[in-house]
């Protein structure tokens, strides 16, 4: 996926910015994190007969002004009202080792997540060693703006542009209406290489 080069003074932090329409969007197919990989018996038992991670796809677009990288994630919202849990999404960064995308990382190949959740005051950097096996790493100078319009979430996650040249990203989405959280996510089936200008 090409990371568009933009000049300072842009408005790409806003998912509604018109500038995004001129930046290439990639469609990413999602699949549920496998039940057998969920980290404990309680979760595997509770969700044994309950579907999750059924958000079918998300679209991703990326831009950078040299200091920060902006990633726009969009996906169809579940139209049913949320209860105790809110919708969430994350950009996944591989640690170099491509293993573990389907399980949000492994103990030997953890990945970094830029994590956004509706109604959390700020996005989080998470280190993920498996489905829901998260460690908060603070805010990491991330910012997020989100909007829900016509049944579609648009979220811009932005952070420091210190991305390695061979970086690959993935996407994860949590449907809060379905009480999805931790490892109960829809995650991209393949890594998306970032082509930095």
């Amino acid at each position: 996926m090409k990371v568009a080069n933009v000049q300072a003074g842009h408005d790409l932090a806003d998912p509604r910015a018109a500038t995004w329409t001129s930046i290439a969007h990639e469609s990413v197919s999602l699949a549920p994190v496998p039940l057998r990989n969920q980290p404990n018996e309680y979760i595997r038992t509770k969700w044994a007969d309950r579907p999750y991670g059924e958000t079918p796809s998300a679209s991703v677009a990326a831009a950078s002004d040299g200091e920060r990288i902006y990633l726009l994630l969009e996906w169809e919202d579940d139209p049913r009202p949320n209860g105790e849990f809110q919708d969430g999404a994350a950009v996944l960064f591989s640690s170099g080792n491509s293993d573990g995308l389907a399980t949000l990382g492994t103990p030997t190949s953890p990945m970094t997540l830029w994590y956004w959740e509706d109604r959390r005051p700020a996005p989080l950097v998470l280190q993920s060693s498996g489905p829901g096996v998260f460690r908060k790493q603070g805010n990491g100078n991330l910012a997020a703006q989100a909007g829900l319009r016509d049944g579609r979430w648009s979220v811009v996650l932005s952070g420091p542009a210190a991305i390695p040249p061979d970086a690959k990203v993935g996407v994860a989405v949590w449907n809060g209406t379905n009480e999805e959280r931790a490892g109960l996510a829809a995650v991209s089936r393949e890594w998306l290489p970032l082509e930095l200008s």
């Binding site: 404990n40 309680y42 979760i43 509770k46 105790e84 998260f134 908060k136 931790a182």
Partner: protein
């Protein structure tokens, strides 16, 4: 006391702090609940939380209808039993009140303090207090103080994907690292007692911490120390000379709540004796207690009948001029006997003196 090996070190002794509530003495004054709240749940997002609560039984309690919310371990399969995460509405409470209107609104006393917001489905910690069950003149109820049971088989620890919850080997307290907790709330689903709350401001789950900073300074938990009725004991289960061990293990009259949930709770209860039923002609039926024995069995298991019989027997012995070590223990003539080894007076702690800050 059992032992556990940690890699590369000497085997560590596992110890367990336990509580015993004497339901014959609890008057439902909620001093324990408030002692806990004043200490621990006054910060943002904690307004509605009651880590210690005293419910009238029979009753729906807190959260509302918690006994029907699942969790624990399925006794037939040994597998975790899926549970319901209590909602904010089911906990209720944490009301906003119309203070400005009452105190400064100039309504000349016509306005009164009341919770704001819709009245429908309103609930709070002790909303059904003193309602009980039964029909006059044989209505009945008792008070049941409830807190995190710091269970031996803590299903909340097993259900947490991040490892934020851990059970300490030194004292058996189940504690949470809020820096790790992601607010996933599987712990709330898994707990059969529904004594874990959620902080919607800080996005972490929270529950009774066993007053561990006090424990570490030799001070008894606030709920125990503040109880004016001398209704609650605390101590190590393996301390054979302590009242907790004697009431639970030696005399067997302090029983776990809902033991069939399989989590091995470490809060025990001396079951309540009840007044006798009145017959239609108002004569007393001395053979039938007003609290149905089958109801008590549903809470404390079949051992409750023997425990009540033993209690009655010891009381009879004393009435007839005899002596009872068990009753002396329950009466707690000396208040400090309730506190186990945690007899330090918190008023005597100084900053950096006993290792505890101001």
């Amino acid at each position: 006391m059992t032992t556990a090996k940690s890699s590369g070190s000497v085997a560590k002794k596992l110890r367990q702090i336990a509580w015993v509530f004497d339901l014959n003495k609890c008057i439902g004054c909620q001093t324990c609940s408030v002692a806990c709240k004043v200490l621990w749940t006054r910060d943002e997002g904690e307004q509605h939380q009651w880590w210690m609560s005293v419910n009238t039984m029979p009753g729906l309690g807190t959260p509302k209808n918690w006994q029907e919310m699942g969790g624990g371990i399925d006794p037939e399969t040994g597998k975790p039993r899926p549970g319901h995460q209590p909602t904010r509405e089911e906990f209720g409470g944490g009301f906003d009140f119309n203070y400005d209107e009452v105190f400064y609104g100039g309504t000349a006393g016509k306005a009164h303090l009341e919770p704001q917001g819709p009245r429908e489905n309103r609930w709070a910690m002790n909303w059904d207090e003193d309602q009980g069950a039964g029909e006059w003149p044989n209505s009945y109820y008792f008070y049941l103080p409830r807190m995190c049971n710091h269970c031996t088989n803590a299903v909340c620890v097993d259900a947490c994907p991040t490892g934020a919850l851990q059970k300490r080997p030194d004292d058996g307290l189940v504690l949470r690292d809020e820096e790790i907790c992601m607010g996933d709330r599987f712990c709330m689903e898994a707990c059969p007692y529904k004594k874990i709350s959620f902080n919607y401001e800080r996005h972490v789950a929270q529950q009774c911490i066993g007053c561990f900073p006090r424990i570490e300074a030799g001070v008894a938990p606030a709920c125990v120390r503040q109880c004016p009725g001398r209704a609650v004991f605390v101590g190590y289960l393996d301390d054979e000379e302590g009242p907790v061990h004697r009431l639970v293990e030696e005399w067997g009259i302090a029983l776990p709540l809902l033991a069939e949930a399989g989590t091995g709770p470490n809060v025990y209860y001396v079951p309540p004796l009840a007044p006798s039923r009145l017959n239609e002609d108002m004569s007393i039926d001395y053979d039938t207690p007003r609290i149905p024995p089958e109801y008590l069995e549903s809470l404390f298991g079949p051992a409750v009948h023997g425990a009540l019989a033993k209690l009655k027997g010891e009381m009879e012995t004393v009435r007839n001029g005899g002596s009872s070590e068990m009753l002396k223990t329950l009466i707690a003539y000396k208040w400090k006997e309730l506190l186990g080894p945690f007899t330090v007076d918190p008023a005597e702690l100084t900053p950096n003196g006993n290792g505890v800050g101001a």
